[in-house]
């Protein structure tokens, strides 16, 4: 019996990938049993469907499918690593709801659907039964970003009457006002200076893994890649503002992290600083900068979720009063968690042998090319982040443990396997980076070329592609088709 062809059509697959986790969230809430198993199966379903979507996607147009696959894998890993203490109905259903909302945001080409996905993704962090923040700043950050996006989308549809992103490409819909509102939405959602403080508050006061998943949806960067760069190619004079803010954020929180001793806040600052680099890379509008930003997106996402996961495992095993003021000596009891923490931490700050080295290399080249002076701050911020993550590693894992804690509390088999998979991703990605970089090099052209207006497109010659001469001939018609 053959499988009907409509099963492999993207709209159906996308609907399945989103519906499965949402349906699983409802089942979990109703059944209240087998929580981890159900969550893993739902995430696995999204992984399989996203993988099929990625395979079916045309070359150079697979960025969002790749992101869907990445986020599904992250959710799968997070549900496996989630300590039993945290494995409650609220947490599991909230994570699954977040997965469906994030996939919806990645997959849509419609402004209104994007707004709905944006709102749904923050619902778990507003709802008291899920992960409602205890302080006002996370709530304010998320609400302000949503308000700014809603206003921007309202103005766009009012001024152009269109809500399809592909129809609006290169038209500067709504002008500088809408551009500014979108930038405000990015600033608040991504935690860019001066709206950075809510991220650390959310991480410190909220559940570690769901908050890490919320932050690593990277909706701010998504907005830049999906709306700001393609829709506003004529805002040349305003684009650098975003880059300056991103680099200022990277530097500011890197300095802030140097003196921070709360492990959760410190990790939040590092994640924020490194993810701000994604924005500066996207804005650099150079091939290296954009490709570096896209690869860095993957590195930051995997590394920070893994680091938060390991930190949560340590909190569960050794108490929640972990601090970086003294040496806790946890490596003696959890050597594999220590090694995994070191590898993910070093990957985050771009040490060689990891995928982070390649992404940092491309990012530094891209930002230095577009903004030489501010670009210099990027390696400085990264160097400070490296010192901070190494300090956290030494304080948590090295030294002598004094409490008389004698049992070994290393990673359990399920945790070990999923951490090993993450380690393999960042290490094998570092050894064979071209497999990932070339993939994103193709996406780079789409983002880079989108900067040019359709009117100017005739003068824009596609760049030659290393190792792929065919693409240089096929790219231009594809962009034209995409624009019209």
């Amino acid at each position: 019996m053959s499988i009907p062809q409509w099963v492999f059509r993207p709209p159906f697959l996308i609907a399945v990938s989103i519906a499965v986790p949402w349906a699983a969230a409802i089942v979990v809430t109703a059944l209240r049993r087998h929580l981890r198993t159900l969550a893993c199966m739902a995430a696995l379903g999204s992984i399989v469907v996203s993988a099929v979507l990625l395979r079916e996607a045309p070359k150079g147009e697979s960025l969002y499918q790749a992101l869907m696959l990445l986020f599904s894998c992250l959710t799968f890993g997070a549900t496996l690593v989630l300590p039993r203490r945290d494995c409650t109905v609220g947490t599991i259903s909230g994570i699954l709801f977040l997965l469906g909302s994030t996939l919806l945001a990645y997959s849509t080409g419609n402004l209104l659907v994007l707004l709905v996905a944006w709102i749904l993704s923050i619902v778990p962090f507003l709802w008291p039964g899920w992960f409602r923040a205890r302080t006002w700043r996370p709530l304010a950050g998320l609400l302000f970003s949503t308000l700014a996006l809603a206003l921007a989308i309202g103005l766009i549809s009012a001024s152009t009457g269109a809500i399809s992103i592909s129809n609006l490409r290169g038209r500067n819909p709504g002008g500088a006002g809408v551009f500014a509102l979108l930038v405000v939405a990015v600033i608040f959602r991504k935690g860019i200076l001066p709206a950075h403080a809510w991220v650390a508050d959310a991480v410190e006061g909220g559940p570690a893994l769901p908050t890490a998943l919320l932050l690593n949806g990277h909706f701010g960067a998504l907005l830049v890649a999906k709306l700001i760069v393609p829709l506003f190619p004529n805002m040349d004079s305003l684009f650098p503002v975003l880059s300056y803010l991103a680099i200022a954020t990277a530097l500011y929180v890197a300095i802030r992290a140097l003196g921070e001793n709360s492990p959760r806040r410190l990790l939040a600052f590092l994640a924020l600083s490194q993810s701000a680099c994604i924005l500066s890379g996207l804005e650099s509008r150079t091939a290296q900068g954009i490709a570096g930003a896209l690869v860095h997106w993957f590195v930051v996402t995997v590394s920070t979720v893994a680091l938060f996961g390991i930190l949560r495992l340590l909190e569960v095993r050794f108490g929640e009063n972990l601090t970086a003021t003294k040496h806790l000596g946890l490596a003696e009891h959890a050597p594999r968690l220590a090694v995994s923490f070191a590898i993910f931490g070093l990957a985050l700050v771009g040490l060689p042998g990891t995928l982070g080295f390649c992404s940092q290399d491309l990012l530094i080249h891209g930002t230095l090319t577009s903004h030489p002076l501010t670009g210099l701050l990027l390696p400085i911020a990264t160097a400070m982040n490296a010192v901070s993550i190494f300090r956290l590693f030494t304080r948590l894992f090295l030294g002598k443990r004094r409490t008389g804690f004698t049992v070994t509390a290393d990673a359990l088999p399920r945790e070990r396997w999923i951490l090993a998979a993450g380690v393999l991703f960042v290490v094998l990605g570092g050894v064979f980076p071209n497999a990932i970089v070339v993939q994103h090099s193709a996406e780079t052209d789409i983002v880079e070329q989108a900067v040019h207006t359709p009117a100017n497109l005739d003068q824009v010659e596609p760049r030659s592609h290393v190792g792929d001469p065919v693409r240089s001939q096929t790219l231009r018609p594809m962009i034209v088709a995409d624009n019209h």
Binding site: P352, G399, V427
Partner: protein, 450 residues
């Protein structure tokens, strides 16, 4: 791929493959025994040494002796007109360094099998030794500055992890953090220098000709590379980390700070020699830094209280002189100097733990203690100057104090100020005392490897 290319590839990759395999197996729960580990280490570095001997023979016996053995694997990654070339190269400059790295790594492996017997971190030490060997072989066999930087960073991180090898004591761990900070700060010079080469010359490769940079551009890139080289080679004003690095086990001190790592900075300058030759300012600065370091090392070393730190400063003095030789353009004298210094210092470091035993043997052989009398060169100075110099040397030239006062303290104060800013708008009940540690990066006072 010819036989020589295959040998070069195997020589560089072997320690990396051993490291990766052992690390992965450990991650999945298997720990090899000491005997197996030392056997694998011996086999790996013996094979590397034989391979390098064969390569040397091939290069020497070739009709054109200056032609290197080069292997091109294409690009590690490429985006647009930027690419990261993956080229390994063995030429007359890199071969002595490759031989030094392989022979000394093997030697240290064999020595450590006994020295670290039943030490809890036995496997960790050998894993890091293989990673270090891989990093150093990669840096020395790199055909481009991009690849050199990758090996360079690996050497740096293994160095830091081995300083903190005795992880149960806070001092080694904190000193490792301090060294890491200095390395990362100075490596910015290498990263930005490589970017400048790509930006201005379109390449950072040197296997088929050196990046064509002249004038101000050559000066800027030279100075950036000099910053990286000075940090790695502990030159003034970055010498403060060297005594702190003596916290690691003696075999790692021997190979890192007596031989390979401390000379990596000199290797970088030797590689960048065509650039230095085009920049009088940079060459002069290399000579000045080398001179200052040689004097600093000679004076401070005389006031060091322990054997390893004295040896470290003796090495530093010689590396300072090597820098002078490089700045003056005496390339091959510098290479010979490095080889001799590295070999002698490794031997001295490895003998350091048994120094008392050696003295006792010597005393019993000569029938009494050796006279500690005799004139020292500092006796020629006025007493006030002697006292001032002693105080200066005792605090190791005040270099750490300067770094603390002018770099680390302002950064930590700025961090504390930013923390206050971040608290605006939060209720006072949410503040947590002790969240900001003013001395978190300074390391333990008075615990600098003594």
């Amino acid at each position: 791929m010819s036989a020589s290319q295959a040998i070069l590839t195997l020589v560089v990759m072997a320690p990396g493959v051993v490291f990766g395999t052992l690390a992965l197996l450990w991650l999945f729960g298997w720990t090899p025994g000491e005997r197996l580990l030392s056997w694998i280490t011996g086999l790996t570095f013996s094979a590397c040494t034989l391979g390098i001997a064969a390569l040397t023979w091939i290069v020497i016996s070739a009709a054109n002796r200056s032609a290197p053995v080069a292997v091109t694997f294409g690009n590690w990654f490429a985006v647009g007109d930027y690419h990261f070339p993956l080229v390994l190269m063995a030429d007359r400059l890199s071969l002595p360094f490759l031989a030094l790295a392989a022979v000394l790594s093997g030697l240290i492996g064999q020595f450590s099998a006994t020295y670290l017997h039943r030490e809890p971190g036995f496997l960790r030490f050998f894993l890091l030794l293989h990673l270090f060997a891989f990093g150093s072989l990669l840096a020395f066999a790199a055909g481009s500055f991009d690849l050199l930087a990758a090996g360079w960073e690996m050497v740096g991180i293994t160095s830091v992890l081995l300083i903190g090898f005795f992880q149960l004591r806070p001092a080694p761990v904190e000193n490792g953090l301090r060294v890491f900070g200095v390395y990362r700060a100075c490596d910015i010079g290498l990263l930005v220098g490589i970017f400048a080469m790509h930006h201005w010359a379109g390449t950072a490769s040197f296997h088929d000709g050196f990046p064509a940079l002249t004038g101000t551009r050559a000066v800027i890139v030279s100075l950036l590379l000099l910053l990286a080289a000075s940090g790695k080679a502990a030159q003034v004003p970055f010498s403060g980390w060297l005594p702190r690095a003596m916290e690691g086990p003696t075999p790692s001190s021997a190979i890192f700070y007596g031989a390979i790592s401390i000379h990596a900075g000199a290797y970088l300058l030797l590689r960048a020699e065509p650039l230095l030759a085009r920049s009088v300012l940079a060459s002069a600065l290399v000579v000045l830094i080398g001179l200052a370091t040689a004097i600093h090392g000679a004076i401070v070393g005389r006031a060091s209280a322990d054997a390893k730190t004295s040896l470290a400063y003796a090495t530093l003095t010689q590396v300072g002189i090597v820098f002078i030789e490089i700045g003056l353009g005496w390339r091959w004298i510098a290479v010979a100097h490095i080889l001799g210094n590295a070999t002698v210092r490794t031997m001295q470091f490895l003998r350091a733990p048994s120094m008392l035993h050696d003295y006792h043997q010597m005393h019993s052989a000569i029938g009494g203690e050796v006279s500690t009398g005799g004139r020292q060169i500092e006796d020629l100075l006025p007493e006030r100057v002697q006292l001032w110099l002693y105080r200066w040397a005792f605090d190791r030239g005040h270099l750490d104090t300067i770094l603390d006062r002018w770099v680390i303290d302002p950064l930590v104060q700025l961090s504390a100020y930013l923390a206050k800013l971040d608290r605006i708008g939060t209720p006072w009940t949410s503040l947590r005392s002790g969240d900001v540690a003013p001395i978190s990066l300074r390391g333990p006072a008075g615990q600098r490897g003594d």
